[in-house]
Each structure stands twice: as C-alpha cells, then as structure tokens.
Symmetry: none
Subunit: 223 residues, 4 copies
C-alpha cells in the first residue's frame, strides 16, 4: 500500500465519510430501490463517477452504509455489556444500549429494520453476508450470557436462543414505535424501563407477592 500525502489522505477520508452520511440519510428515507446513485451524488456534491470510484456499485455502497453502522452498534452494545457485573445486568445493558443507539440513529433504524431484521433471505440478498454475521455474532454473545443465566437458575429453562430473539424483537418493536409516532413519546428512559420490566418479569401482576405495592417499576429489582 503506498502512502498518500497526509493532507490528501485526510481529505479522502472526509469525502468517504461525507458520502456515507449522505447515502445513509437518503437510503433511510427512501429505501434501497427508490434511491438513485444520482440523488446521492447530487446531495453529496460529487460527480457520479466519483461515488463509483469510491464504492464500486450501489449495492456495495449500501453494504458499506449499513455495515458501518452495524459495526458501531455492535461495538457500542458489546462495550456496554462488558461493564455489567451480573448476567441480568448484562441483559439489561443490552436492552438499554441497543435502544439508546437506535434512538440516537433514527435514520439508521429504517435500514436496520428493513435489512437486518427482515432480511432478504433468498437470492439477491442486498446486504453482504458479513454484515449479517456481525450482527448475529452479537446476538450469540447475548445467547451465551442468557445460557449462563439459565444454568445458574436465574432465567427460566427455555431455549436460550428463543429468549434472545425475544429480547431482540422486543427492543425493535418498542424503538420502532418511537419512530412511528414522531411525536415526543414518553422519554426513552421510560420505554427502556418498561421493556426491561416486561422482559424480566412479564406483564402479569404477581398476585400475592408484595413486590408491587403501588406503582410498578421500582421496588422489585433484584437488589
């Protein structure tokens, strides 16, 4: 690999980043198929050919856009989980980190849901395999955590993968609802608390347990 002058190199990276940002916003707004390379070129203020010389093709650009963000998501969630001391804490961290990240990246949320959550399973998969694998590997980490939790008798003895899918689906559903009702929802924190509570203890009030004397989300953390 030969070196560029530092200035050139810096400019080059800026251009790449700029194009990726522009592409993300347009892809998120319009979806893959309804976005044209020209739209991206115009909004990024580069020539069409320039986009191609950097990213090769529309699919590759799309893959780069989604892949980059998925990397960030995975990195963020993984880092957050690492901080948690207990199994349950790790799951809680997963929920909070994922929701927080998606909420901070509403643009990306659209792409995430369309391409990561609802993959084109068949031929013509738009996303490169590696992106999906990266995300799945994150879920595998969570699966291990849950599995250990089950072993310890903390979680119910279900298929750990089912539980993970549940957590994943739960968080998607809630943050998606935030996207739908653009109106200022309850705070993100409230949503995260609710999802956590529902996942851990379910929707049903435990009849004779004295856990929830009045409201519903404070007292019953495992202390």
């Amino acid at each position: 690999m030969f070196k560029r002058s530092p200035r050139r190199e810096r400019e080059h990276q800026q251009h790449i980043k700029h194009i990726l940002d522009v592409a993300e916003s347009i892809f998120a707004e319009q979806g893959f198929f309804q976005t044209t390379m020209r739209q991206i070129a115009v909004k990024a203020e580069f020539a069409l050919g320039t986009i191609y010389s950097h990213f090769g093709s529309k699919k590759q650009l799309y893959g780069k856009v989604v892949g980059t963000k998925v990397d960030e998501l995975v990195a963020f969630v993984t880092r957050e989980m690492a901080d948690a001391p207990s199994v349950q804490g790790q799951v809680e961290k997963f929920i909070q980190a994922k929701m927080a990240f998606l909420d901070r990246n509403l643009h990306f949320l659209r792409l995430y849901l369309a391409e990561v959550d609802v993959p084109r399973l068949d031929i013509n998969n738009i996303l490169p395999k590696k992106v999906r694998e990266k995300y799945d590997s994150m879920l595998c980490v969570l699966t291990d955590v849950v599995w250990r939790g089950i072993q310890k008798g903390l979680f119910k003895p279900m298929d750990a993968r089912v539980i993970v899918k549940t957590v994943d689906g739960l968080t998607n559903a809630l943050v998606l609802s935030r996207l739908k009702s653009a109106e200022a929802h309850l705070s993100l924190e409230a949503d995260m608390r609710d999802v956590t509570e529902l996942f851990l203890h379910g929707a049903v009030v435990h009849q004779k347990a004295t856990q929830n004397p009045d409201t519903r989300k404070e007292p019953n953390n495992e202390s």
Copy 2:
C-alpha cells in the same frame, strides 16, 4: 350491474385467486421492487395485459395481495380472541392465533414484516392506507383488552399501547426466527408457549415462588 353467467363468474374468481397466489409467492420471495409484472404473468400463465386488466397496476396488485391476507389475519385473530373467557385468555389467544396464522402463511410473513411491521412511513408508501388501518384496528382491540386487564389489576399499570407493541413485536420476532431457520424448529406449540410465558411472567425465575420446584430456582445470582 350486469350479471356474468355463473360459470364465467366462477372462472373469473378463480383467475383472480390464482394470480393473487402467484403474485404473493413471488413478491414474498423477491420483494416488491425486484418482482416484475412479467414474472408474475409468466408464472400465472396469463398475458401481461390480463394482469393489468384485473389489478390496474403493480402497486394495486401488491396492495391486493397484502390486503387480502391481512384481512384473513385480522379475521382469524379476532375470531379466536372472541372465544376466550378472560382478559388473560384473550391475550393468550391473540399470541397463539397470530403466530399460528403467520406460521401457516410463511410466504405472507415476508410481506407482512416488510410492509406492515416496517412501514415506509414517508411518501411513496406502497401499501394503501386502508390495509395498515385494518391491522391497526386489530391492535386497538387488543389495546382495549389490555387496558381492561390493567383496570382489573391483572396487568401492571403501564401504558397499554406499550404492552400491545410488546406482544406484537414478540410474536413477530419469534415467528420470524422460524422463517430464518427453515430447519424444523421446535414445534410451533412450544414456541407459542414460550412466548406466552415470557410475556406474562417474564424471563426471570421468581425466587421464592414455588412454581419451579426442581431445577433452576437456586437463588445464586452473582451478587
């Protein structure tokens, strides 16, 4: 309005149904944008113009495909819920009915997730408004049920809509996972049981409750 002869009318309905089925399978396999009307025409063994004379446009055909199935889904779920005696039973029925329906209609599941669960919120919404409204109205019914459950002290006093989104997202996530791993999963019944359990009582083992006398009750959280 002119009457067709009964035979012609019957044939007509058969043709419509046949085209809708073919369209559903191709749309589900390839998505809206990667499906061409020609593909549908060829597979349905009709001329291109015939498809258009019946459905007007690609968008309308797509709307009809999704709309028809959503109607079935809504009808099935609503009917099942009606049978349940209690609030909790209705929620359980919702979960079971929805999962059962989607599992029986894996083709449709793809469309459902792409277009109902992850709507194009912006302009250019492919699906007619009415389809989404129909689905939302079904969720509203569930919201009422949950709300009554909350009033009775059965469910925790959260925002009923959040709970409903949770149920909806939970079931989507699980049935989607069945789609992903085409391999024979656990039985559908097992999945339904797990989802119901998770939603109602959460993933955490209730420490002192005597529900799980044997295995996993050990109180050993890593403190």
Copy 3:
C-alpha cells in the same frame, strides 16, 4: 344480400349512426391517437367487439366518421352552388355554404382541419384516399367555376387553382378563428360577408373608384 327484418334493419342503422356520432365527438375532442376504442365503446354503450364487428378497425371507423361528414359537406356545398346563377354567385355560395356547414359542425371542424386540411401526406395516411378525393373533387368543381370566371374576364387571369386554394384557405382560417375564440364572435353572417368581400375585392380601399360609395359588396355582380 339477404334481407333483415325491417325492425332489425332499422335498429342496426340506428346503432351505426349512434356509434358514428359518439366516435366523432370523441375523435374531435381528443384526436385520433389519443382516442381509444374502449372510450368509444363505453360512451356508445356497446361492447368493444361490437364496434369492431361494425367497423373493422380504428382506422376504418375514423375514416367512416370523417368520410360521412365530408360527404355531407360536399353534398351541401355542391347543392348550394348549383342554385347560384352567376360565376361570382357560385363562389359566394361556396364560401357561405362551407362556412355555414363547418360552423354548424364544430365537432367535425377539428377533424376536418387536422385530417383534410393538413393531411398526413406520407405513409400511414390515416384517412382513406377516397375521402380526400371526394373533397378534392369538390374543389375541382370550384376550380372550373373560377376558370370560367377568368375566361369571362371577371376574375384576374391567375392560376385558377391558386385562387381556389385561396378561397379554401380563407374560409378555413376564418371559421377556425371562430373555434378558437369560443366567445360569441360577431355573427357568422358578418364573417361570411367579410371573407367574401376580402376575396373579391381585397383589403385595400380603392382610392378614387366610386364603386363603393357606402358599403362595399353590391354593385359589381356580373349581371
């Protein structure tokens, strides 16, 4: 040719006439290419196939529509000219009759101008040759009249065909202007008088001639 029952025959003729009228109005409004056979069928309240069984093709229907009216026009103009005693009178009658007919058939005027006045000279001529020939034969009659007028020293010794084209173009231009300004123009009679005057004596005031002491169109008939 075998006979139909008289009632059937009458009904048949009515149907033909009805379809022709409907077709004329739509062709006139939208032109040949922007009119579809289905539009005609719907407005005429017949099935598509029925139109075809009567007229064979779109072109033939169009030809029939224009041809029928051209026949009427030619018949009317010829009849009117026959009544006139003198050469000049015949020309005047031509002008008046043609303008009156076109003014009574504004629908047809559009077709006339598009297809008779501005023929598609090349390949793909929409109108059957016979229709154009019929119209041209009418102009030939006028040409003969003018030629006789020239022989008698009544008209200036120009090419008679040029004069005829002038008369034809003049009348077209004026009646077209009536179509353009849908507003109630001057009376048709006034327009006819003006055109006649302009054609016969030109636009210039004859300075010293005492021919037209007051108005301008009487004295100089060839007696």
Copy 4:
C-alpha cells in the same frame, strides 16, 4: 454554474442541434404520435437515454423542436417587416417573409400546420403555451399595423383581427399547396405575388379602374 471546457461545450451544442434536426424531420414526416423516441435515437445515432438526458421527455423534445423554429420564423418575419416603409409595405413583407420562410423549411411546415395553425385547444395540448403565445404575439404586431392602415383609410374598415386571420390563413393555404404538389410549382415568387395581389385587391377585375394598366387584367389566360 460550472463552465464546461470550450470544446465540450461546442460538442454539446452540436449534439443538441443534431438531435433537434433529426427529431424535426421525423416528427414532420410522421407526426407526434407516430414518432417513437427510438426512431429519433437511431437516426441521430445516440443512445435512447442520451436523448432523454438532453430533452427530458418526448413532449419536451417536440416543444423544443417546434419552439425553436417558431422563434426563427417570428424573428425573421419581424425583421423583414421592420424594413418596410409603409403600412401596405409591411403587410406585403409579412406575406413574403412568412411564405419564404415556410418554403425554406418544408419539414417544419408540417409541424407548423398541425400544431400552430390547428391547435389542440383542449386539454393535452402538446405544445407548451409559450410557443403559441410567441406566434400570436407576432400576429398582434401585424394586427397593429393593419389597424393603423384602417385608421389612415388605406384598408377597409373591418375588424383588424379578421383581416390578419385572413392574411395568415391565405399564406398558410398557399404554401401548403406547395407542399402537397411536391412537383415544381410555379416559382415561389409568383405565388407570393398572387397572394399579395389577392389580399390587397381581391380576385375580381375592377372594370373601369385604371390601377393595373399593364399586366394581369388582360382576358388572355391560357387560351
């Protein structure tokens, strides 16, 4: 606005001009609806997409073709009229200039007659409004000239607009006849003289007036 290199700019203009010329000839030959963009592309030896990238749509290309020529016509006629000293001279110049221009642009004549002279008055007007307005503004100039002529007692006290329509229709009719009989007609000059004479003084020989002492009153036509 970015500058192109002079060479690129020159080439670009050449391409535009070339395509316009090709389009004009095909539109003139076949009319708007029977001309396909592919025909134009093939004859122009450009790819289909190239035509679109320059002109946007078939309608816009057509508008550009007709509009460009109408501009030339209006410019030419206006310039010629400006040179004439008298009112009558201006009208004569109009006649001559318009006929000369149309005769030099027989291709265009077809389009002119189809789209300028016989407008689609209704919806779906193919031509942009501006083109028609440009032509009409030219006629307005002539109307003013005629009106001044009437005030001076030079022209008969008719509606000036009627006179203008007459001149316009007259010239159209004559030059059209030149198109029809592709055979070498009389010279264009002869036609122009005849039209001018007819318009100014009419077809009738003024018996005692001494206006035309020399040439064309003699009863000696083709004997």
